[in-house]
């Protein structure tokens, strides 16, 4: 589904990604871990097409097509979804209105008609239930005055509504208490299928107890320096990142 080849990217002339190689197939869950400042969020932003980043070298291929020339919204229309680490507030725009706009704009981008109001309503109810979101929440302005947990739950709600091919969860676990973590992880697991893929970016093992990855990659200083299975995550939890840094710098 997604192939990243020798990706180099910088922001304001500061080089951040220095040769990333990654292949994610449909049906897989990949975890990307690594210390602060290693480039995890940058990788998420670059895949989803944030303009501030300049890709200097390499390729990002989605379904066999190089997507580098595509705008962020075009990538979204092709099924790329980013659950933000810090979701932004949009005052006066309700959760429902926002998701309705997102769905219909995405459908427009895919050459489809607007979703009929009846179907939209049904889907909203269904997905709200999945994530244990109550009705009142849906009429609140987007992310305004939301707790950290509410913001993250709302991200996953949007993911559930948009049903992306490739979902990137950027530190979705930060700011979540145990119950919220369980609900969010449960939601992600239910949305998983053999046709879509998930990239989970996290500092900690605890989210991976709930969303079990097929592969774990360690990102350090702009490169994937180690890849393995879920056992690697346990090892990192236990030993921290210093041994990795030593390995790399040796």
């Amino acid at each position: 589904m997604l192939k990243i080849k020798n990706l180099h990217a910088s922001v304001e002339d500061k080089s951040i990604l220095k040769g990333i190689n990654l292949e994610v197939k449909a049906g897989e869950v990949h975890a990307i871990m690594g210390p602060n400042g290693s480039g995890k969020s940058t990788l998420a932003s670059v895949i989803s097409g944030k303009e501030d980043y300049e890709v200097e070298k390499g390729e990002i291929i989605l379904h066999g097509e190089d997507i580098q020339e595509l705008s962020a919204e075009e990538r979204a229309h092709k099924g790329v979804f980013l659950s933000f680490q810090y979701p932004v507030e949009i005052p006066g725009v309700s959760v429902t209105n926002f998701i309705k706009t997102a769905i219909n704009e995405t459908r427009k981008g895919q050459g489809l008609e607007d979703m009929p109001a009846k179907d939209m309503l049904k889907k909203i109810r269904e997905k709200a239930e999945l994530l244990e979101i109550d009705r009142k929440f849906l009429s609140r302005p987007l992310n305004e005055g939301f707790s950290g947990g509410e913001k993250k739950r709302n991200e996953i709600f949007q993911m559930a509504m948009l049903e992306p091919q490739l979902a990137i969860l950027d530190e979705t676990d930060s700011g979540l208490d145990i119950d919220a973590l369980r609900i969010v992880a449960n939601g992600v697991n239910k949305l998983k299928s053999k046709d879509n893929a998930v990239i989970v970016i996290t500092h900690y093992q605890r989210l991976l107890d709930h969303i079990v990855p097929d592969y774990v990659h360690v990102l350090y200083n702009g490169k994937i320096v180690k890849s393995g299975t879920k056992e690697l995550a346990f090892e990192l939890e236990e030993k921290g990142y210093d041994w990795i840094k030593e390995e790399v710098n040796a």
């Binding site: 919204e73 979204a76 980013l82």
Partner: protein, 482 residues
């Protein structure tokens, strides 16, 4: 209600033709430029006005001559030369050879986005129009329903002839001739406008708009409106048009007076979309408007405005809360883009006891524009327990525009409660990217954010107007974020 028949339609068609013919006759007579007493007398005569009206205009002119154009507003423009304007010109005529193909394609594209019908487009560009059964029948039923309730709704010129007692009593009672420079000028030379009277105890059954949306386009540059709601009555009045009006007259100086007698309520909604000038700041209308309402006991006046047009706007719809327990409201969205300048706000003058006022102002600035809120809350010494709540929010787009807030508060009574809140925010790249990532392109994202920001005011507009206003906000800000 009796059915509208083919015969009625034919009758209407005849009248229409006659009207056009009639206008063509007047057209040959346009006054030379310049302003003096003779010109004013001639305007008044042309309109077949009674002597008291002529004298009233002349009084205004005498005052105006002694006045100076105000300079305190936060706007910069080249002052008009008042002696180089023609103060009377016949209604724009229908050119039989002109078709929509002759109209600026940009303008047509905008009409299309706004969903303006072909007939309305023709009307606005002075193109001969086929009569549509729909609009004709709407107009007919409309007049009939209003007539049955005793509601008077006509042009002010007609009202001066047909209801002189009402006009004489109320014109200038809220905005006197000497009120300000532009109001004085308007009083001297006003071309036409609307008059509306709602009798005691009558609730006007419809928004006074549906009919006028077509028929009032192009009322002229010195418009005069007078709305009187008698005791225990209610009216909702819509003014303006979402369609972009390209007027060759650069100066517009309108006066609107509202009178809400005891227990009456007037809701006055405006969408102003005069030509703002081009992207380089050339051309555009100077819109200098005086709007004021007077509330008697328990009366309520609510102003709602969506201002997107004009190169320079100078406008402060105000309420004089004279009666005890009266209520004044002001809800405003002002959008400026490119080189537009707006200095707009309100005055709430609390004279009566237990009077209440609410001000919600939303200013949106883009491009190189300047957007100012200017408001006065005045509590007189006898206005016990007066209350005001003001909220002024500004939204900025880009780094070259400006937002300014000038709130004035004068309280002479210790029991007054006055609250003022103000915020300034900027549409952030993060917000845009967030929307983009969800499949929403940048233009649509801005529209979404702006609509969210303006929601409290949009909600105050009558439904069908609100939808149009929303679209208008989108269009006004198109291309404002590169």
């Amino acid at each position: 209600m009796s059915k509208y028949t083919e015969d009625d339609l034919r009758e209407e068609l005849k009248t229409k033709k006659y009207e056009y013919g009639f206008y063509t006759d007047i057209e040959s007579e346009t006054f030379p430029i310049g302003l003096n007493e003779d010109v004013i007398r001639a305007i008044s005569k042309k309109k077949e006005e009674p002597e008291w009206m002529t004298d009233w205009r002349l009084d205004a002119f005498k005052v105006w001559k002694e006045m100076e154009e105000p300079e305190w507003a936060n706007v910069n423009y080249v002052k008009p030369d008042f002696q180089s304007i023609a103060y009377y010109s016949a209604p724009a005529s229908i050119d039989p050879n002109k078709t929509l193909d002759d109209v600026d394609p940009d303008l047509l594209a905008m009409y299309k986005k706004l969903g303006i019908s072909v007939d309305e487009q023709k009307k606005m560009n002075n193109i001969a129009m086929d009569i549509v059964v729909d609009s004709v029948s709407v107009a007919t039923t409309f007049k009939k329903t209003l007539g049955e309730k005793g509601i008077i709704f006509m042009s002010i010129s007609e009202a001066i002839k047909e209801h002189p007692e009402l006009v004489k009593k109320y014109i200038g009672s809220v905005v006197p001739q000497k009120d300000n420079f532009y109001a004085a000028l308007n009083s001297a030379v006003f071309s036409d406008g609307s008059f509306c009277y709602i009798p005691k105890g009558v609730r006007c059954p419809m928004e006074l708009s549906t009919y006028f949306r077509i028929n009032q386009a192009g009322t002229g540059q010195f418009e005069r409106t007078l709305v009187i709601a008698d005791e225990d009555s209610y009216v909702s009045y819509l003014e303006g048009c979402t369609a972009p009006s390209r007027d060759e007259n650069q100066l517009h100086a309108a006066v609107v007076e509202l009178i809400a007698l005891d227990n009456a309520e007037i809701k006055y909604s405006t969408v102003q979309n005069w030509y703002p000038g081009n992207a380089e700041g050339k051309g555009g209308v100077y819109n200098f408007v005086t709007k004021r309402g007077l509330c008697e006991t328990n009366a309520k006046i609510s102003w709602t405005q969506v201002e997107t047009g004009s190169a320079v706007t100078w406008k402060y719809p105000s309420c004089v809360l004279k009666g005890d327990n009266s209520v004044g409201e002001f809800y405003s969205i002002a959008v400026t883009n490119n080189y537009q300048q707006a200095d707009t706000g309100t005055k709430m003058i609390h004279l009566g006891k237990n009077t209440k006022s609410t001000i919600i102002s939303k200013g949106i600035s883009a491009g190189k524009s300047q957007n100012s809120y200017r408001g006065l809350v005045q509590i007189s010494s006898r206005a016990d327990n007066a209350r005001n709540f003001s909220q002024c929010d500004s939204l900025l787009m880009g780094n070259e525009c400006g937002a300014h807030t000038f709130p004035y508060i004068e309280a002479k009574n210790k029991t007054a409660q006055i609250e003022h809140e103000a915020t300034t925010s900027k549409i952030g790249e993060d917000q845009i990217f967030y929307c983009n990532q969800r499949g929403i392109d940048t233009e649509k994202a801005i529209a979404l954010i702006v609509n969210g920001f303006s929601k409290e005011v949009l909600n105050k507009l009558p439904m069908e107007f609100a939808v149009e206003a929303q679209k208008l906000l989108e269009i006004s800000l198109e291309g404002s974020v590169g």
